[in-house]
Subunit: 160 residues, 2 copies
DNA sequence: CCGCCAAATGCAATTTAATTGCATTAATAT
DNA sequence: ATATTAATGCAATTAAATTGCATTTGGCGG
């Protein structure tokens, strides 16, 4: 019987290789963070990532620093849902995508395409370099609409 | 001679009317904030707005609260340039636009059109209500590229 | 014009995300 | 194995934003 291998996770492996390619070290905390980000759908706040890491593996500040380092080499992307905490997701690199965030329950729907490529192109034509963008769509999802309707009833403001 | 009027600023006047329409009071701080936002091109951080207000007119926390109130009735829009401080700009309402932010000097270029209308429409078709979006483009502007070239020189890493 | 009342404000304290300094640990090259 | 230095842990700190509560004030009715 050959030695058992960890479950194949090519995203994780290539992410670790990307670290090496940038002279960044592959450490246990970074491996843990990337394992989460490559296996679970994000994006997650730093706190959320930290809580998913086996307790004791690393400090919260290490998650901050690791993510910052990973963002610099485009391993992860930072999103802003406008609620005061940045979120991170694994950067697949090839295909950009967008999110629709429910402004009530914070659920996230992923749209697997990007409308802003043309804008980035335009920015480059205007002379900008190193162009990126952030685009988030906000709304109230169907579930939350229903809940609101139930809670408020047909005549919300009229007592008795 | 008729009594002198303050300089006509229809944006300001209609903004104040919007406040009244929402049963919000027209106070001196709010007038000051809206005067700034309707006359100067933003977006500005809360701190920046506060510093532009004549000293003593109001407290910083009032600027926070006023802007929050104004955002709720869509008088202003909040943007995120990803540097830890939200920025606000007057919401013209009719025509959405985008920004290109230099990630070095933070200069802002305004693009007077919007590519995300189609995305908002799609979100609505997916059942979302109250749909909005944020889209910011980041890059390094031509000026900062030149400065970097001068500072670094043709052989940045090679001393003497 | 005067007074009422809720909305808005000022001030101080607080919360929370994120950052920094520094001593220690550990990953990688030799 | 050893050296080098990036990465980490811990504690303290920064800075944006929020909250509580007493006070003020805008806009209303009389």
């Amino acid at each position: 019987m050959p030695p058992s291998h960890p479950p194949a996770n090519s995203s994780l492996e290539s992410a670790l290789q990307t670290l090496r390619d940038h002279q960044a070290r592959v450490t246990e905390p970074r491996r843990a963070i990337l394992t989460i980000l490559t296996s679970e759908h994000g994006p997650f706040t730093v706190e959320e990532i930290y809580q998913r890491i086996e307790k004791g593996v690393c400090d919260l500040v290490t998650v901050y620093r690791s993510l910052a380092a990973m963002e610099e080499i485009n391993l992860v992307r930072r999103c802003d849902f406008g609620d005061g905490a940045y979120r991170y997701e694994f950067n697949t690199g090839d295909h950009h995508h967008h999110h629709i965030i429910c402004r009530t329950c914070r659920s996230v729907k992923t749209l697997d395409f990007c409308v802003a490529d043309s804008l980035e192109r335009m920015a480059r034509q205007l002379g900008y370099e190193n162009v990126t963008h952030t685009l988030e769509i906000f709304g109230v999802c169907v579930n939350c609409q229903k809940k609101a309707a139930r809670a408020g009833g047909p005549n919300p403001a009229v007592p008795g």
